[in-house]
Symmetry: C2
Subunit: 251 residues, 2 copies
């Protein structure tokens, strides 16, 4: 490993795989809205996804777990690798250099980097966002308000969202985005936020109940207008069975 | 780029990205059977998937297209990146060294390599398999007869097959695996081979016809026993619409 490669990590002392990085699209769900965690770069109005390099002695999955833990305080996060971004020119290096040359080594703008994209689903209420050494804010953004991002991170975010939509029917998305107890309208709004379309509530409730993946609790949600809706939790065993046995392709 | 990195490509003169490779699971369909293209290593009873390195001036997708063209003679192949394999120890280096040290540079056994997995679907009848410089045979194997492969290539193959199964309902798999004209039993057998399960023929035909993705031709298939079955071709525009509009999740 050359000196150069040693320097290209977030920490100068790290021995990392050269020309390889990872980026994380971290999704949360709150107030009926799908949100994503973004970093704001120090002293600039520039934003990016959280990311990092892969140490020589860690797997790429472990590197993603480490980055997620550093940014959210959480481990045991639901994490899926969705695509590796490997164009020769992933972004406009000259434009990037103008913006960031005071913060990053020159080699960052010369060397091509291939990046592995992960998406993560986290319980919004349990996350303590934490910026890295290049950034001074780590904050949730509504998906609809995401600004122009550095590097090719808008592409990575869009592809991560596409992967989430595709996997909605055969991964335990609800289990990871919803709080432990939720109402049927909460769950419906999560589907609506991810798919960006309206769903008929009566059909939705009927179909979900028919699968047996949720258990109705004796509690109702308090502090909501009109009739208090019942709370549900997932029957995790049944949820897993349904996903493995062909999925929830009816929404 | 160091001398070392220059040497790690399949061709010594290539300037490739260090510690990054790609491997291809090339599927074909013939005689009602799903097949995969394997390389046999020179003078050994050892097999692997086709693969290669990524040149500094080509995208990872273009590298996969190049490898596929070298091995099959085809360009314009349906190709999907499905997973990047990034464990620290992807395989037993010592065991590999015993088998291949007379053919490969020492560094191959020392340096960890992250590999990007692609699967490809090809028209079996149009492929001219062609070994690379380390191998003396490039041949189709029935999926069920695949031997133990070098590196972690059995894992890569299995994950590629899983990706193919998942994408069967929203990628134009039939268009790429079946010949231009095919019978309804051909199509059914393709689904059965990929999913490794029996499908009820009457239901299958009814559901496929209802989608409008196939057009019945005036020809029938000749030289088959019993009643000659009609030939069909895909209505490519309609096929694309159905896949985009929620997919074929009924098989």
């Amino acid at each position: 490993m050359s000196e150069k490669n040693k320097k290209s990590g977030a920490d100068d002392s790290l021995d990392v795989i050269p020309q390889l990085s990872l980026d994380c699209v971290i999704f949360g769900f709150h107030d009926s809205t799908l949100k994503v965690l973004l970093l704001k770069w120090k002293g600039l109005e520039e934003y990016s996804l959280p990311g990092g390099f892969v140490k020589q002695d860690e797997s790429v999955d472990d590197a993603a777990v480490r980055v997620l833990k550093e940014r959210t305080g959480l481990d045991k996060i639901f994490l899926r690798q969705f695509h590796t971004f490997g164009k020769v020119k992933r972004y406009d290096n000259l434009a990037l250099q103008k913006k960031l040359s005071h913060m990053l080594d020159e080699e960052v703008f010369q060397e091509r980097v291939v990046s592995i994209g992960y998406y993560a689903l986290v319980d919004y209420e349990k996350v303590f966002p934490n910026p890295d050494k290049f950034t001074d804010k780590c904050e949730w953004y509504d998906l609809i308000d995401v600004p122009e991002l550095l590097f090719d991170h808008n592409d990575i975010l869009n592809k991560g969202l596409k992967a989430l939509r595709l996997e909605l029917s055969f991964q335990p998305i609800g289990l990871n985005l919803l709080p432990e107890k939720f109402t049927m309208p909460d769950m419906q709004r999560m589907y609506e936020a991810i798919l960006d379309k309206k769903i008929d509530p009566r059909n939705f409730q009927k179909k979900i109940l028919k699968t047996g993946i949720v258990i109705r609790l004796k509690e109702v949600k308090k502090g909501v207008a009109h009739k208090s809706p019942y709370l549900y939790k997932f029957d995790q065993k049944r949820y897993k069975e349904v996903l493995e046995d062909g999925g929830l392709f009816f929404i």
